[in-house]
């Protein structure tokens, strides 16, 4: 009997250890197990508490089950009828108490965490308020107090509370910045709120978590948490916007003209947040200061000249199902040349010079798609 208990305990101890290894191993850039802000931290702490509790349950249930099944197995030739026991009231009461106690042990921290992380956040002065609109298949971020509109990359200062007011322009989406906070759905005709704080600077990955058809799998985003000074620089780029002048570099100048000629400007704006924001444009990603973007399109690949060119060349190849038209026929002799010019122009937006932009990318620690902090 005792030997058996040891065996079973050893078995489950082993599997518990195994599973813990796996936990340590799952250190990917989207792992919820290694949060980067207090909201996600509290949420995952709650999980870990239940996780350890549940190992006790699994070991106990599995152990007793396997023990009793083996201990009371029918030996060959044994045709005896065991005592026909129908039940035992004391036992029933005792083991009603067990799940009740477990449930209470889970419920109390759950309710506490829930109110700490989900209660409505009244915006205070130092908070950053962002209006998030989900579109098929990209994100629009509007900073109403700062006069900034951007897409797919949410810049926030470290240590300040970010309050997101979220809605959808078409179907359901779900904003899931897993390292910073749990997700919240974006629903048309409804405003949902989510708030989080980033503890350290870094680029945090996120992704749409509610089926929105088409390019749903490619509907990603970045939360870029910056030190206060860096955030001020970024903000400044939007608030003192200087575009639309003739460019010195002939390639960039050609790109600037192409942006209008090829019809990009019909849908995309590069003029920042303006009073006369033309109707229809909010339904397409804002490209203001596009050169500062880390990724293209919607968080899928690094914003390098090669990736941007590939995207312009054949949007459906990069992000199947999206609504970006293919601007050049394959037979178009000017295709590569024009793409190069447009890429040069787009990447110049918001960048003082190429080196500085690269440096800022390096500073934030982005490499490949590994956006982990």
């Amino acid at each position: 009997m005792v030997r058996w208990i040891f065996r079973v305990a050893a078995l489950f101890g082993l599997s518990a250890a195994l599973s813990s290894c796996v936990f340590q191993g799952s250190d990917g850039p989207q792992s919820v197990l290694h949060p980067a802000g207090p909201v996600a931290q509290e949420q995952i702490d709650l999980f870990l508490w239940t996780y350890y509790l549940s190992w006790i349950v699994v070991v106990a249930v599995g152990g007793v089950l396997i023990y009793s099944a083996l201990r009371f197995r029918r030996r060959p030739g044994d045709d005896s009828i065991p005592p026909q026991v129908h039940g035992n009231t004391t036992l029933e009461i005792a083991w009603t108490a067990i799940p009740v106690l477990l449930v209470i042990a889970v419920a109390i921290p759950t309710v506490r965490t829930l109110w700490r992380t989900e209660a409505f956040a009244e915006p205070k002065e130092q908070d950053i308020v962002v209006n998030v609109t989900g579109h098929q298949w990209w994100w629009r971020f509007e900073y109403p107090e700062l006069g900034i509109v951007t897409a797919n990359e949410l810049h926030v200062p470290v240590g300040r509370r970010v309050i997101l007011n979220m809605t959808s322009a078409d179907v359901l989406h779900s904003f899931w910045p897993m390292k910073l906070a749990g997700k919240r759905d974006l629903i048309p005709n409804q405003n949902n709120q989510l708030w989080f704080i980033a503890d350290e600077s870094g680029v945090y990955l996120g992704q749409c978590a509610e089926l929105c058809l088409g390019a749903h799998a490619y509907m990603r985003f970045r939360v870029i948490a910056e030190e206060e000074a860096d955030f001020e620089i970024w903000k400044g780029k939007f608030q003192d916007l200087q575009v639309q002048q003739v460019q010195a570099d002939p390639l960039i100048e050609q790109g600037r003209l192409l942006f209008t000629q090829k019809g990009c400007a019909t849908c995309h704006t590069i003029d920042g947040y303006a009073e006369d924001y033309s109707i229809g444009k909010p339904n397409f990603p804002d490209l203001t200061n596009f050169g500062l973007r880390l990724t293209v399109p919607a968080g899928w690949a690094d914003n390098t000249p090669e990736n941007l060119a590939a995207w312009l060349r054949d949007p459906q190849e990069i992000k199947p199902g999206n609504r970006m038209p293919t601007l050049w026929a394959e037979s178009d002799p000017n295709r590569e040349e024009e793409i190069d010019a447009l890429v040069a122009y787009l990447l110049s937006l918001g960048r003082d010079d190429q080196q500085q932009a690269q440096a800022s990318v390096q500073h934030l620690g982005v490499g490949g798609n590994h956006g982990s902090r």
Partner: protein, 625 residues
């Protein structure tokens, strides 16, 4: 009229169609009203659709094996996972439970058939043709691609102009009617057709769980049916229920769907609980421990099933008050579920446990379901749910709860009841292989998905970029698919082998405890020679081993008047066919066809009503003649 005596229904002379009398051949199956034949049809159809869903799952897994694969396009991928979910929930596992109930519930309570045999046939054909309608969408412009819960406004005409969504709505609408009438039929049967002495507290737990399930069906399907109806109205008649531009609220669909959807989980799982509650006692040679507690837990779970639906909607911004309330109600369900597991374990304790394939599946069910229940409690914590909702953690959880909970126990039930249904034994040697391959494959597929969920992999994505840490476990998961597929194929082979040269089963191969084991295998079409008289729980065991129990003699008096065999009928299949064709009329807005089918239904209802139950009586002494 004395208690317990009711007049047979009157016979009518009016007949539109001659009453069919085939006893063999295809037509006899089309017009059958025998609960055993319909049970077999349900089980076969369920396994057929499960096969289709498995192929879909297989393609899904192949696509996800490595990052950036394009074995299927995003559009096809969306159709695959939608149809996989819809098929498994509505067309495979739920009808499998209904099928076993159809076959064994009347046998377990000592009845000759269901209370409304023709309605039972109607229920089957409506379910089956609704399912076929849903699947024909693959040939006509693409299957539904909106996920199995078809969240609005993805289903609105402006967001989804194809006919796939119409097929989803109309197919489930029609199939739902079948399930609904079958649920009602089960309730009347269980309440009214128990053998003398079969009091409620002597009913086998399987029957009890079917009763609870039937009540869940009766109360849960209407909200779904209305929600489907609303979307059909939106798409066919331009109403504004789920049109955001007209002020429609997307969230309403979610409420209606999950008011149905959560009870649906128990509609699937409770029959499985019931089957387990028969299998474990049989192979432990002990009665179920804590019978009243297990039953009360089942009732409580069913009842609470209606009070937890928004735990599917924790991330939709209902606010902390709602989330707290529904988190707590969900936790409460953990208590009766835990009780059930404890009682099943206590049944094994002190028994004479036989490790048959059925018992192995039953034990694996206990472990798997416990894990699924624990992750369920975790997901009931709104803060954690926010982190992993719509990730592979959730996928893993509900496959443990429904796949592990329902599927493993229905496989146990298949091994347990196959001898009774066919008169042949399934090979136990092959059975062990089937068990280890299926259960092992299951764990290989789904256990890693917990890790991928925690690693941040959302569900329903057709592909994922490299470097996010999803690669390893996705490969393992796909390998598991192959293992499980081999197990399922082996099961098929085993079934064929049993028909070809299986050992004869005899009446009672497992030393069973309930009434179905008291008659021959397969049972005669009239079920019981004489009305069985029940004087204890586990009625057949009490007959076999009276010394081991303290059975009380039956005080009830009744008189045998011969066995009534209800007549076959064309109307169930005609009415179901009219609904089926009418479904296409609704999808393609072809109103003339719609009116024609409506006329068929109206005339059919009259034909049905005036045909009457019909049939004939056979008398015990004449049967052998």
């Amino acid at each position: 009229m004395a208690v317990g005596r009711q007049p047979a229904r009157p016979v009518s002379e009016v007949k539109l169609l001659a009453r069919p009398t085939w006893t063999r051949g295809l037509l006899s199956w089309l017009t059958t009203v025998d609960h055993k034949r319909l049970g077999i049809l349900y089980i076969l159809a369920s396994f057929f659709f499960m096969g289709l869903a498995s192929i879909e799952a297989f393609l899904i897994r192949l696509q996800l094996t490595r990052p950036g694969l394009s074995i299927v396009s995003p559009d096809v991928y969306n159709q695959l996972f939608t149809m996989h979910g819809v098929t498994m929930v509505f067309l495979a596992i739920m009808p499998l439970g209904i099928g076993f109930a159809n076959y064994f519930m009347p046998l377990m309570i000592g009845a000759r058939d269901l209370a409304f045999p023709r309605l039972n046939a109607f229920g089957f054909w409506v379910y089956f043709l609704g399912a076929i309608l849903l699947y024909t969408s693959f040939f006509f412009g693409g299957a539904p691609d909106v996920g199995w819960f078809a969240y609005s406004p993805l289903t609105s005409l402006s967001n989804n102009p194809g006919t796939g969504t119409d097929y989803y709505m109309v197919g489930l609408f029609i199939g739902g009617i079948g399930t609904l009438v079958t649920g009602m039929n089960f309730i009347v049967t269980i309440i009214n057709m128990r053998a003398p002495g079969m009091t409620l507290m002597r009913m086998p737990v399987f029957v009890w769980m079917i009763l609870v399930t039937a009540f869940l069906i009766v109360f849960a399907f209407p909200p779904l049916t209305i929600a489907l109806f609303q979307v059909i109205m939106d798409r066919s008649f331009g109403t504004l229920f789920y049109e955001p531009a007209g002020g429609g609220m997307a969230i309403l669909w979610q409420h209606l769907f999950w008011i149905f959807g959560h009870p649906e989980v128990y509609i699937i799982v409770l029959p499985a609980f019931g089957a387990i509650s028969e299998i474990i006692p049989t192979f432990s040679r002990k009665p179920l421990f804590g019978y009243p507690i297990v039953i009360l837990s089942g009732i409580f779970i069913g009842f609470m099933g209606f009070a937890v639906w928004t735990h599917h909607m924790f991330t939709t911004g209902l606010g902390p008050v709602v989330n707290t309330a529904f988190a707590l109600t969900t936790f409460v369900i953990g208590v009766p579920t835990g009780l059930k597991v404890f009682n099943w374990m206590a049944t094994i304790w002190g028994g004479r446990v036989q490790f048959t394939t059925a018992m192995l599946f039953a034990i694996s069910f206990l472990v798997t379901f416990t894990i699924g229940g624990i992750t369920g409690i975790m997901l009931a914590m709104p803060p954690f749910d926010a982190l992993v909702q719509d990730s592979y953690f959730v996928v893993a959880h509900f496959h443990y709860a429904m796949g592990g909970g329902a599927l493993l126990s229905f496989l146990a039930a298949t091994y347990y009841w196959f001898p009774k249904m066919t008169g042949k034994m399934l090979s136990e040697t092959l059975g062990k292989w089937v068990f280890w391959l299926v259960a092992g494959g299951f764990y290989l597929i789904f256990f890693p998905q917990h890790f991928n969920g925690l690693a941040g992999m959302p569900r329903r994505i057709q592909t994922y970029p490299e470097g996010l840490g999803f690669e390893f476990w996705n490969v393992i998961s796909t390998i598991g698919t192959f293992v499980m597929a081999v197990g399922i194929l082996l099961l098929l082979y085993s079934v064929i082998l049993a028909f070809a040269r299986g050992e004869p089963a005899g009446n009672d191969p497992w030393d069973g405890r309930t009434l179905e084991w008291s008659i021959s295998s397969p049972p005669p079409y009239y079920n019981f020679d004489e009305m069985p008289v029940v004087n204890d729980r586990d009625a057949f065991w009490a007959q076999k081993y009276p010394e081991s129990v303290h059975a009380k003699p039956v005080e009830e008096e009744f008189e045998e008047h011969g066995i009534h065999i209800p007549g076959q009928s064309w109307y169930p299949v005609i009415m179901a066919g009219a609904l089926f064709i009418g479904g296409y009329a609704l999808i393609y807005n072809n109103w003339w066809l719609g009116i024609l089918m409506f006329a068929v239904i109206v005339i059919g209802s009259y034909g049905w009503a005036f045909e009457g139950i019909g049939g004939h009586h056979i008398h015990p002494e004449e049967k052998e003649a």
